[in-house]
């Protein structure tokens, strides 16, 4: 940190120490929330505000950065530092901020259009660099703010204003894209499962390195019910596979089905028909990146439940820490640079 920033931050009075632990309310700004009534964004905002007090990070050290789209209004509603950027670039703004200020806790709020279409390039590079930033990608499989065009996660054949005969694009699977970009923390959760969301968001916040959370989010105006199979009571248990580290992959209302690995292919087996037992099932391991690829690849496959949870959580040095370390070792090796040394370097000569 620079001389001046250090001086400023060491001289400021600490915020009036709250009598009790801050509450979710302390993270609500004075701005009216302007999403459509019934939007899944409300739940994500509420759960985020609920977990932040548990992180033990002062509010002034938190920054929420977004791009453009419905989800990107999020920072305005947070009583933290916030930056509503331009379309697709939140990840790049966050990268620069984290490099300049490794002391901050930085969140990127983006959507399937902002983060995977116009901002796809910055997203993959953020993840491969492993910059310590938390990304929540609100995936509603549609463009909401521009009023209903298909997005890079819309299913093939989707009929929208810009695809009256059905889209001919194959969708991204965000979790696979993140894994393919060497992201160290990759997870998926859902707007209608607040408890799960809280767990995942907390884990994402605690992870050192890039955390990528794909959040299924219902757009009740332009793509209502896109995830109902996975979020609604009547269909959820039969169609969702909750990933839990160290536990066998079991699902079903009666907990009577599991995922067995046939070669490299995951298949559903019954635990009731006497042919398979729990010991035949895959045991989830967040540290196994090969397994993470296999599980993420179950997405969009018919006859397989949709995996929800943490696909992967690996430890690897972060870009921001290595940047700081290179600077420190340069200072150690060559001495702290002075203006005299800088300007007088190389061959010089004097004219009397």
């Amino acid at each position: 940190m620079s001389v001046l920033v250090e001086e400023i931050l060491s001289n400021v009075k600490p915020a009036d120490a709250p009598a009790a632990k801050p509450s979710a309310r302390d993270f609500q700004s004075d701005q009216d929330v302007r999403w459509c009534p019934g939007c899944g964004d409300y739940s994500i905002l509420a759960q985020t505000q609920r977990i932040l007090p548990d992180l033990n990070i002062p509010r002034e050290k938190m920054v929420f950065i977004s791009g453009i789209g419905c989800s990107s209004r999020f920072p305005y509603y947070m009583e933290t530092y916030g930056f509503h950027g331009i379309h697709g670039r939140a990840t790049a703004i966050a990268s620069g901020l984290k490099m300049a200020r490794p002391d901050l806790s930085i969140w990127v709020i983006t959507g399937d259009g902002d983060g995977l279409s116009i901002g796809g390039n910055h997203m993959i590079h953020l993840m491969r660099r492993n910059i310590d930033v938390n990304v929540i990608l609100f995936n509603n499989q549609i463009y909401g703010l521009t009023k209903g065009q298909y997005s890079p996660t819309s299913e093939k054949g989707k009929v929208t204003k810009s695809t009256p005969l059905g889209s001919i694009d194959y969708p991204f699977n965000p979790a696979s894209l993140a894994l393919g970009s060497s992201c160290t923390f990759v997870a998926r959760s859902m707007d209608r499962d607040p408890k799960h969301m809280q767990t995942v968001l907390k884990r994402a916040a605690e992870h050192k390195g890039t955390s990528f959370v794909e959040m299924y989010q219902n757009c009740n105006v332009f793509n209502d019910g896109a995830f109902f199979t996975f979020t609604e009571k009547e269909s959820r248990d039969e169609n969702v596979l909750y990933l839990e580290h160290g536990k066998p992959l079991i699902f079903g209302k009666e907990k009577d089905k599991g995922i067995h690995l046939d070669g490299f292919t995951p298949t559903v087996v019954s635990l009731k028909d006497g042919k398979h037992s729990v010991s035949d099932l895959i045991v989830h391991n967040e540290k196994d990146s090969t397994l993470a690829f296999i599980l993420a690849n179950m997405t969009y496959q018919e006859n397989l439940p949709r995996p929800i949870g943490i696909f992967q959580s690996l430890e690897r040095p972060t870009y921001d820490a290595m940047m700081t370390q290179q600077i420190e070792s340069s200072i150690e090796k060559r001495g702290k640079g002075t203006m005299e040394k800088l300007l007088n370097a190389g061959e010089t000569w004097t004219i009397q």
């Binding site: 920033v5 600490p14 530092y81 930056f83």
Partner: protein, 612 residues
Amino acid sequence: MVKTTKSLDEVTIRFAGDSGDGMQLTGTQFTNTSAIMGNDLSTLPDYPAEIRAPQGTLFGVSGFQIHFGSKEINTPGDQCDVLVAMNAAALKVNLRSLVNGGAIIVNTDGFNDKNLKLAGYEANPLNNDSLSKYQVFQVDITKLTNLALADMNLPQKIVDRTKNFFALGMMYWIYNRSIGSTIEWVNDKFKSKADIAEANIRVLKAGWNFAETTEIFSVRYDVKPASLAPGKYRNITGNQATALGLVAAANKAKLDLFLGSYPITPASDILHDLSMYKQYGVKTFQAEDEIAGVTGAIGASFGGALAVTTTSGPGLALKTEAIGLAVMVELPIVVVNIQRGGPSTGLPTKTEQADLLQAIYGRNGEAPVPVIAASTPGDCFYSVFEASRIALKYMTPVMFLSDGYLGNGSEPWLIPNPESLPDISPKFRTDPNGYLPYLRDEKTLAREWAIPGTPGLEHRIGGLEKEDKTGNVSYDPENHERMVRLRAEKVERIANDIPPAQVEGDEKGDLLVVGWGGTYGAIRTAVEQKRAEGKSVSHLHLHYLNPLQKNVGEILYNFKHVLVAEINLGQLIKVLRAKYLVPAVGLNKIQGLPFKASEIEKKIDEVLGNSK
């Protein structure tokens, strides 16, 4: 044999060869040695965009011109007095740069049938009278280099790569230069490769000794030191000076320097230089693209860094939207544009000044940005420092314009005393009482910088229109107009905070030649020449392109004629005509090359001739 020594005031030499022949290195070594010997000088590297184009071809020719002397030198020279041509193609491409009666030193081995064919010569020009108006010195540099290294058993490839040092050695002898500084450089560069170091030094000495012994060269020349201002000097390119200026600005601002950049010719050297300054706390981020370079800088600026992005024209086009964001959120960044020939990919390695209007106006909406341009390689240091000062004080993106000619060109640079540079440290807001993100300083109209980590100042900024003072999102019509006018007024007020423009020559007269950026040396040389001839001509060179200095109009009105010389189709002239309604005429050249002083002199005669 008896060799005579003649004294010269100034000489221009052009080294030319294949792009893999090391001509840039040869030129740079000659330059540094001449600088250390006290000459004033100016250089023009002229190389193709291809790294190693097919050998012997016309488009693979790389050149380096140096103009040095015992008098004041402001340009790399209109034409060269000496052409060193390593092959037939180099001769063919560069012959038109040579003065009548000039000297050609050729490597005869570069004129075999294959070379002649590739260069498009039907007959060997060394064997007929096509070069009769020049003095031709034929040396089989390849053979002599091989002989010098015969007992070293080096691979032929290595041997071939040293032949440029034979040419350099000869030129050092002819112009009475010391070879010591180049030997030091070789020893340092090849520290871990002793045989390569020895080969280069041997060949360098062989070239020197050959020139001294052979009867080919009977005259050597002496170019005395120039009477430069006293002080300590180093030779510097515009890009080196830009990197130093940015580190100095961060130091004087007491901030960390953050660079977000994507490699692009001819700006990459600034990224390279700053990457070596880690012990100064400099953070360099080689981004995935131009947009990430600038938005990364905006993020760093939000965090309280002196944030910079460096690029060239096509990259600037990509950064446009983000610069508009910086205008809206009123955060300081310095955007460095080393202009090159355009449009599109254009001429990556050639110079041009055609991004001025893009710099001043090239954004959506009313998005004013201060624009500052450097005039010489050494001036890049001061101009980018000034750009940083304005960015920090006025909380605004600032465009710093240099160009390929300044960036790669070099000159002796009087090293400044760091104490003489002003303190430009910003005042971060810390008091939460009464804080609103868009409250402004009454005088500068700048908003306050409140950085994350400061308790009680949590706030949100973004690209949507801001409500005056609170910074909340606002779609109110009157508020929008007020904010557009406030942002414009803030940039206009910078004119109150910059020194007045200075005319070189008389304050009144028949003709004022106006320029900006890298044309300084050529215009200065031409105007001085014409003034020496008794013409009523003066020179105004603008460093501040937006806003213009307050006295510019007054200066223009004091002359009967105004001539605006630019390396574009006429961009500054549009700005001056629009603002001051002056009937200025333009001198425009768009060849990827700087002006020659003689081209400006001719135009001055033409304008003054018409006025009689």
